[in-house]
């Protein structure tokens, strides 16, 4: 995946130069956002639902050990194989081993962000296994070898023509690029794959601790295919994806469907309580649950960032974010993009060099926090990440010096007054038509696209003092 090798600037430039991408991002986010408003308004008391959602998630996270233990007990009691993976590598190994044990050649996948997080497909393909992403959007980006550009609409950045071009070599003939043709092609193509899948890998939207059930929502029905047809099923879940019981599930499913796409419920909501009854005519005979930590336990122990584990992966923050709106997901460079991606990626990956740019992909406008159905203060968390980065010495020397100077002058009003008057005299080389139109970096970052008003000959504090003296 080439984009991982690009620098942040290169990715940003590339995104900003791609007018289709930007138009598509606006279209998708506008649509999803407006649908969400309708679905939220309809409940008439959205804020109460949000408060309930937040309370449920907080309760789960602050008792995660209890609920996780309960989930595992329930699952194991019924013969489900539960695997606890500390790292992405551990999780990959677990899946690889299951696939090898069964000598499986065809692996079907329904949408799972965890599988993206652990880069699973690549590892399985190395073993000579055919891995098929069955969600239409995921299928498109799998063929294109790209990461998702939106958590809910992963192939949002592709034009229909690009999709047709990607499908043509598989179809072996030309395809018209209208949606029904492309959809029909995928239906036919996938049918055959569904029927010969050896192992199904799914994600997990919620895991109900009290009964050991897995809840999965899809609109296409691919989640149902993958969890019904193959003989063996593997579910990948991030360890925080728990809900205590069915009582709380109602709130979270409502918040998820309405926030994600503006639906009252997704087309298919599936509650799996594996394994199947031996007499059931279908459903997997063998069930594995892989629970991934990947530094989530570190986040749990870090009070500043614990609330980021409350996320239910609805994507609502993407759809209101003005930065995401301009860039789409790939410019972030990370598997999880958008506001929540900018928060959790540095925490999950623990690599400031690679992911240190993400907390700055925000103007801190707060639209994300306002949109979050479980009230995660996302923009505050971004500020706290900047603080963490600063305090651990990962910000540039120049920046540190600038803020040292800021602190010096901005705690001494009289000194600042003199500095400003000096500035007012020194600004002239950069002034055209009473506006500052150029300057040394970092000022030039501003003046490249904008002008600035001139520093006033007398700052207000001086003007006021002068007025007072006159009286």
């Amino acid at each position: 995946m080439t984009m991982y090798n690009q620098t942040t600037d290169e990715r940003v430039d590339k995104a900003l130069a791609n007018s289709f991408l930007r138009q598509a991002t606006r279209r998708a986010t506008d649509r999803l956002r407006n649908n969400k408003y309708k679905a939220a308004d309809e409940l008439g008391n959205w804020e109460e639902w949000r408060a309930a959602g937040e309370a449920i998630r907080k309760n789960v996270i602050s008792n995660l050990d209890y609920y996780l233990n309960q989930l595992i007990e329930q699952m194991e009691k019924r013969g489900v194989h539960v695997h606890l993976a500390k790292t992405p590598a551990d999780a990959v190994t677990v899946v690889r081993n299951i696939v090898r044990e069964h000598n499986a050649k065809n692996v079907l996948k329904s949408k799972s962000m965890i599988s993206e997080e652990i880069h699973l497909n690549h590892a399985l393909e190395e073993d000579g296994v055919e891995v098929v992403e069955t969600d239409l959007g995921e299928y498109i980006i799998q063929i294109a070898s790209e990461p998702p550009s939106h958590i809910i609409v992963p192939a949002m950045h592709k034009t229909r023509q690009q999709v047709a071009d990607l499908f043509e070599p598989i179809a072996g003939h030309a395809l018209s690029s209208d949606t029904p043709t492309l959809t029909r092609f995928v239906r036919t193509q996938m049918r055959e794959k569904f029927l010969r899948g050896d192992i199904g890998i799914t994600g997990c939207n919620f895991a109900v601790a009290s009964t050991g059930s897995i809840v999965m929502v899809t609109n296409e029905g691919n989640g149902r295919m993958v969890s019904t047809l193959p003989r063996v099923q593997i579910t990948l879940m991030g360890m925080e994806r728990i809900v205590p019981s069915f009582r709380e599930l109602d709130i979270l499913l409502n918040l998820l469907a309405r926030s994600a796409t503006g639906q009252r419920l997704s087309s298919y909501t599936t509650i799996l309580t594996p394994p199947k009854n031996t007499a059931d005519p279908d459903g997997p005979e063998e069930y594995h649950l892989v629970i991934l930590d990947h530094n989530r336990s570190e986040i749990l122990g870090d009070k500043l960032f614990r609330s980021s584990l409350n996320c239910i992966r609805c994507g609502a923050c993407f759809n209101v974010c003005p930065v995401y709106r301009q860039l789409g997901g790939h410019a972030y460079g990370s598997v999880y993009s958008g506001p929540i991606g900018s928060v959790i990626t540095p925490l999950l990956e623990k690599d400031w060099k690679k992911w240190g740019h993400l907390p700055y992909f925000s103007s801190l406008c707060g639209a994300c926090s306002e949109a979050c159905p479980v009230r995660i203060p996302l923009h505050d968390l971004l500020v706290k990440l900047r603080m963490r980065k600063t305090q651990s010495g990962h910000t540039p020397q120049v920046e540190r010096q600038i803020f040292k100077a800021y602190r010096y002058f901005f705690t001494r009003e009289k000194t600042l007054r003199r500095a400003l008057r000096l500035g007012a005299r020194l600004q002239w080389p950069f002034v055209r038509n009473q506006r500052i139109t150029g300057g040394p970096p970092p000022l030039s970052n501003w003046t490249n696209s904008r002008t600035l008003p001139m520093v006033a000959p007398k700052p207000f504090m001086q003007l006021w003092a002068d007025l007072k003296n006159k009286r």
Binding site: R27, R31, L136, P154, T211, M225, T270, N277, P281
Partner: protein, 229 residues
């Protein structure tokens, strides 16, 4: 790989306390829920919402009305299907009485999925080749236009999934106001069945340029018949 107790005790240490031995207190939930006053209202709102999602629906009171409804929806199509495929209509082992008698009066033979083949893979092929999957349902949800189906040895999950059309029957009294009520029923089961499928309309996707498209994987046409006694 970690063993469970290490994994859990690591979390407890991150939370700075031992793992609770008693269930944590439940969160107080007081969101105002969507409520309707009677079955008639529930059926009517359910139907509205189901149709808004692109499903077809009818309310019937007898086997004869069911028969008329099936005729109106499918006409002579099944006759054509049977010429190619004697297993075109695939169903649960038992459907509501009204449904059973309507199909037998129409002389549209039903293939029972669970008995259709010995090997599950063969059953899947039969389901994939069928034209219409026919099921009952355990509950309905008015607010979202949803039918809810439990798995069971005499039923089969693929029937509502693989054929291009899915028809379900539901008793009017089984239609609930909202998801919360259905999940209460699920919780009351104690140990839920292997799968509970909540189906709200046909298979849909907007993955290509946000353009809505029906039937990428699951059924393209969905029908519901509400049995009102």
């Amino acid at each position: 790989m970690s063993n469970t107790s290490d994994f859990i005790s690591n979390l407890a240490s991150k939370l700075g306390r031992p793992t609770p031995t008693e269930p944590p207190p439940q969160v107080e939930l007081s969101v105002p829920q969507y409520r309707l006053s009677n079955t008639e209202e529930r059926v009517s709102i359910f139907m509205q919402n189901w149709q808004a999602l692109g499903g077809k629906g009818a309310i019937v009171r007898s086997a004869d009305e069911t028969l008329q409804c099936l005729k109106a929806w499918f006409g002579e199509q099944p006759i054509t299907w049977f010429k190619e495929n004697s297993q075109a209509l695939l169903a649960w082992d038992t459907l509501p009485t009204i449904a059973e008698s309507a199909f037998s009066s129409l002389n549209w033979p039903l293939t029972r999925y669970s008995q259709s083949a010995f090997d599950p893979r063969d059953r899947y092929s039969i389901a994939a080749n069928a034209e219409l999957g026919i099921t009952g349902s355990d509950w309905g949800i008015s607010l979202s236009g949803t039918v809810v189906v439990k798995s069971d040895p005499l039923r089969g999950r693929a029937i509502s999934l693989l054929p291009p059309r899915h028809l379900s029957f539901i008793e009017s009294t089984q239609i609930q106001d909202n998801l919360f009520n259905v999940l209460e029923e699920v919780a009351a089961l104690g140990s839920p069945p292997a799968a509970i499928e909540m189906i709200s309309g046909p298979s849909r996707t907007s993955d290509i340029e946000m353009d809505l498209s029906i039937g990428v994987h699951g059924p393209i046409e969905v029908y519901v018949i509400v049995i009102d006694h």
